[in-house]
């Protein structure tokens, strides 16, 4: 579903954010990317939907090469949902308008159909009563669930999560992780940058560890649990 082949990305010519990164993600898999801050996790995620203009390598999503000149990047992005650390809801629009904007403007869905669908998604993330509220009137956990609903409204084939719980209070983390867990169980292809190791162990098919712009190790959730007792990935969390 997603092939990342020898991707390198520089910021300002001097700062290398990704250094020859390769990774392959199959349909229906959930892959968690973790590692210290500044290691390139979010940059890698943004390469998948072409939000980063990486200079070397190839990213192929569902058979379409992201940075190839002939690619309709907007069309490709419509198939890939993305959720951000700070929610990034459109503050001047209601929850309903946030969710229906892209379906109406990109998919050319009628308002009635888009709104009906949005309501169903709001039910699914547990906050149908907030449809007519504005983002700043919601709690952090509610905002993030709206952001997930907004991404799902485009019926994406892939969902990207960029530290979706890092800006949340502990009591709100669970409500967001529950939605993500359900999504993974339903077979959505997901790439998740997170520090939530509980989620990684429980849900991820694979965990990718990044450090200093490279992927340094990959493993399954159980690999991680056992490795933790000895050495390897656990060293990231100890800060060495």
């Amino acid at each position: 579903m997603i092939q990342i082949q020898h991707v390198s990305l520089w910021y300002d010519k001097t700062h290398k954010a990704l250094d020859d990164v390769s990774e392959s993600i199959r349909r229906g898999q959930t892959v968690v990317i973790c590692g210290p801050s500044g290691s390139g996790k979010s940059s890698l995620l943004r390469c998948i939907n072409g939000l980063e203009r990486f200079q070397e390598g190839r990213v192929v999503v569902d058979g379409v090469s992201v940075r190839q000149p002939g690619t309709d990047i907007h069309k490709l992005r419509a198939e890939i949902g993305m959720v951000f650390q700070h929610f990034e809801l459109y503050p001047h629009m209601t929850v309903m308008q946030n969710i229906t904007l892209a379906p109406m403007r990109v998919r050319k869905m009628s308002r009635a159909v888009a709104e009906k669908k949005a309501m169903a998604l709001l039910e699914r993330v547990g906050i149908p009563e907030k449809a007519s509220r504005f983002p700043e009137e919601l709690s952090g956990g509610q905002k993030q669930r709206v952001a997930i609903a907004r991404a799902l409204a485009m019926e994406p084939k892939i969902m990207l999560f960029d530290e979706p719980t890092s800006a949340l209070d502990p009591e709100m983390i669970k409500e967001v992780l529950d939605v993500m867990t359900d999504l993974a169980r339903e077979g959505m292809t997901m790439v998740v940058v997170t520090h939530e190791m509980g989620f990684a162990r429980g849900v991820a098919d694979r965990i990718v560890f990044m450090s200093q712009a490279k992927i340094v190790e990959t493993g399954t959730g159980s690999d991680f649990s056992s490795a933790r007792k000895t050495k390897g990935p656990a060293s990231f969390w100890n800060g060495s």
Binding site: Q85, H86, P91, A147, R150
Partner: protein, 241 residues
């Protein structure tokens, strides 16, 4: 001695022909500043946008515009549009201008004030655009919206709300700066006040009247902008009064 013996005669404000002159002056001030503000808004928003788009060419053009129009005095620009600009046109165009545009000074004033204010509006719009976090742009692009759609539906409506307060100031400045157009002979309200003084020696009354006019119009603009701010306020986001 003259000041001590000064007797106020407020009737110059409505006496014929001065009353009519004042009304005309007020209307000219309004026309001049509103037309200039219209130019400033349209041009300013376009230039501000040019400066943030990821295209080297538009950034260059937008940057050059701001440098030139913001960094020279408005008075000099007025003189440029009034005295120099027509000379840059080809001869037939100059002739057409002299024959067909009797109030050229007024239009020179509109263009000068509009293009100057546009450079300031552009910078404020740019500040608004840059105040929006990068991930907000990314979030909009990530849903498949095109660049035009991203700016039209997501970025611009938000940025414009952010810059409404400084916009009020800019609007007021534009309207007060219109008084400078008297230097190229536009009969706006300040010029009219002086003009009536030259016939009647009652400049104190006329300039007082002009000041009152400015205060009234400014109060209307302030009230109008406050109303706009209130109407487009984002619930939960901007501090309630």
């Amino acid at each position: 001695m003259g000041i001590l013996n000064y007797t106020f005669d407020w009737s110059v404000l409505w006496r014929d022909p001065y009353g009519g002159m004042l009304v005309k002056g007020i209307l000219t001030t309004l026309q001049l500043s509103l037309l200039a503000w219209l130019i400033a808004l349209v041009l300013g928003l376009a230039v501000g946008l040019c400066r943030v788009l990821p295209l080297r060419f538009t950034r260059l053009v937008g940057g050059a515009y701001v440098q030139v129009f913001r960094n020279t005095p408005l008075l000099v620009q007025l003189f440029f549009w009034y005295f120099a600009a027509p000379l840059l046109l080809p001869k037939p165009a100059q002739a057409w201008l002299y024959d067909n545009v009797p109030n050229y000074a007024f239009w020179a004033g509109v263009v000068a004030l509009g293009t100057y204010t546009a450079s300031r509006v552009a910078e404020q719009f740019r500040a608004g655009l840059m105040a929006i976090p990068r991930d907000q742009y990314r979030a909009a692009y990530a849903t498949g919206l095109t660049t035009v759609q991203v700016y039209r539906y997501v970025i611009a409506p938000f940025a414009l709300r952010l810059i409404l307060p400084p916009f009020t100031t800019e609007f007021l400045t534009c309207f007060k700066n219109s008084a400078l157009a008297m230097t190229i002979g536009v009969m706006e309200v300040t010029h009219t006040a002086y003009y009536i003084d030259s016939f009647t020696w009652h400049g104190l009354e006329t300039t007082t009247a002009a000041s009152a006019v400015y205060l009234c119009i400014a109060a209307c603009i302030t009230a109008g902008m406050a109303f706009t701010e209130k109407r487009v306020r984002i619930p939960g986001m901007i501090v309630r009064r």
